[in-house]
């Protein structure tokens, strides 16, 4: 499975962090690959409950776009700060942390 995370906005605009982050489970240790699959499943289960765009009163907030490919089935998930669903926040944090190892 593959997950591509794109982050826009935030306190500063870093060109290097604006590039999509792509995680391929085949490139991960087994435990991480299992975590990724679990986190994706949990996030997609609540995706419809997640706010997709920050209201006008939000400044320096981030917007997140996840393109998830699970065994050829593709789903998109959008979120924005503050991410209301813990499962979505956990997935975003996991992908970000793995990319910075």
């Amino acid at each position: 499975m593959r997950v591509e995370l794109t982050i826009d906005g935030g306190f500063a605009c870093f060109p290097g962090l604006a590039k999509p982050i792509t995680i391929d489970s085949t490139q991960l240790p087994a435990a991480d690959a299992a975590d990724l699959r679990r986190l994706c499943g949990a996030a997609l289960a609540v995706a419809s409950d997640e706010s997709t765009s920050p209201p006008a009163t939000l400044y320096d907030a981030r917007r997140y776009h996840l393109a998830i490919d699970i065994d050829g089935v593709k789903r998109d998930l959008d979120a924005a700060d503050p991410v209301s669903q813990p499962a979505v926040a956990d997935l975003i944090a996991f992908v970000t942390n793995v990319s910075r190892r």
Binding site: F11, A12, C13, F14, Y59, D60, R62, P82, A93, R100
Partner: protein, 359 residues
């Protein structure tokens, strides 16, 4: 106290002796120093605001609502701990007047909110974000490795950083001031957070964030570093800060973060759909204009340049969709109104905008 505004009747003992009608005449026709002193002594109500402008501005819609109960300026801070979750506000970690319990982020947020409140009150007689005692709230330890901070219209939110690239976001006073300044802008001109008005919105937050830091250090404009978020990078990052108001585009050049994309001149204005049309990118242009104006005027940057920018923000002629040119022209007009149309302040402001290619 009138219309919810607090008046320090002992600000100037001589002017306190003079009756209001005499103060009003001085405020209209005196020298810049006399006008400033008279205005400081007058009640800060709608009539006084009119005197601050050469022409009578139409009152903002927000000021036409029923008067709020009088408010005595005092800090009302509450710091919350999200404990790594992303639910707001979190658990109360420190209330106004309470002692530190040893959490550095909590204490930094508490001190930073206080410093910001004190700055606005001391220099602009502004009672918190809305000039009516808005409670100051901040949530720290938001998320896990969250390397960002934001203002949600009611409170500030700070992450701890990921520890690899970013430190905790409460470590930088100008960042705390920046976020609160978004609240001030929202209660004044309400600059739309998109493209040029959004970049002005961002720039105003950087301006007042930097001024709050300079004020806390009692620095002259020439002594200040003019950096935003200088303490946020870990030693792993090749850079000095998130942004430089003095030299936009030079704050960092890092293999992971990339190169600081801010332009310093209109000829390099970034046209993009990212970042709400580049609000954090093109803010470099008005940032540099403020820096140039402050350096040219000299002394403390918050005293004249900061005052000009603040009064421009409050001017009803500043529309929510103002572009750089409209804002720049208004700052020049404000400088002329507050000081003299032929004075060094107005000349410095006009020249600053010319140097960045806006005027």
């Amino acid at each position: 106290m009138r219309n919810g505004r607090y008046r320090d009747s002992h600000r100037h003992s001589l002017l306190c002796i003079l009756p209001p009608h005499m103060l009003e005449e001085i405020a209209k026709h005196g020298t810049p120093a006399q006008r400033a002193a008279a205005l400081a002594a007058l009640p800060a109500d709608e009539a006084t605001r009119d005197l601050r402008s050469a022409e009578k501005p139409a009152p903002r819609a927000a000021r036409l609502v029923a008067p709020k109960p009088p408010a005595i300026p005092k800090k009302r801070r509450t710091i919350y701990d999200a404990a790594g979750a992303q639910q707001l506000p979190g658990k109360v970690a420190r209330r106004e007047g309470s002692k530190s319990l040893g959490d550095v982020a909590v204490d930094e947020a508490y001190a930073g909110l206080g410093a910001t409140f004190d700055f606005y009150l001391a220099n602009f007689r502004r009672n918190s974000i809305d000039d009516a005692g808005f409670p100051l709230k901040a949530t720290v330890h938001y998320g896990v490795g969250y390397d960002n901070a934001f203002w949600n219209g009611k409170q500030m939110v700070f992450g701890d950083g990921d520890g690899k690239l970013f430190n905790r976001f409460t470590s930088s006073l100008d960042v705390i001031g920046h976020e609160l300044a978004h609240g001030v802008t929202a209660h004044e001109a309400g600059l739309v957070y998109l493209e040029q008005p959004g970049a002005l919105n961002e720039s105003l937050s950087d301006v007042f964030g930097s001024l709050i830091k300079q004020y806390s250090l009692n620095q002259d404009a020439a002594q200040a570093d003019w950096l935003i978020g200088a303490s946020l990078f870990t030693p792993n990052v090749k850079g000095v800060a998130l942004r430089s108001m003095k030299a936009p585009g030079t704050a960092y050049d890092d293999p992971v973060l990339g190169r600081d994309p801010q332009p310093a001149h209109m000829k390099d204005f970034a046209v993009t759909t990212r970042d709400k049309g580049g609000v954090h990118i093109n803010s470099g242009i008005p940032n540099r204009a403020f820096h140039l104006a402050a350096i040219a005027i000299g002394g403390k940057a918050w005293a004249a340049a900061g005052r000009i920018w603040y009064e421009t923000l409050r001017d009803p002629k500043l529309k929510a969709d103002a572009n750089f040119v409209a804002f720049a022209k208004l700052t020049v007009a404000t400088a002329g109104r507050l000081y003299s149309a032929a004075g060094k302040e107005a000349a410095a402001v006009a020249d600053a905008w010319k140097q960045v290619g806006v005027l």
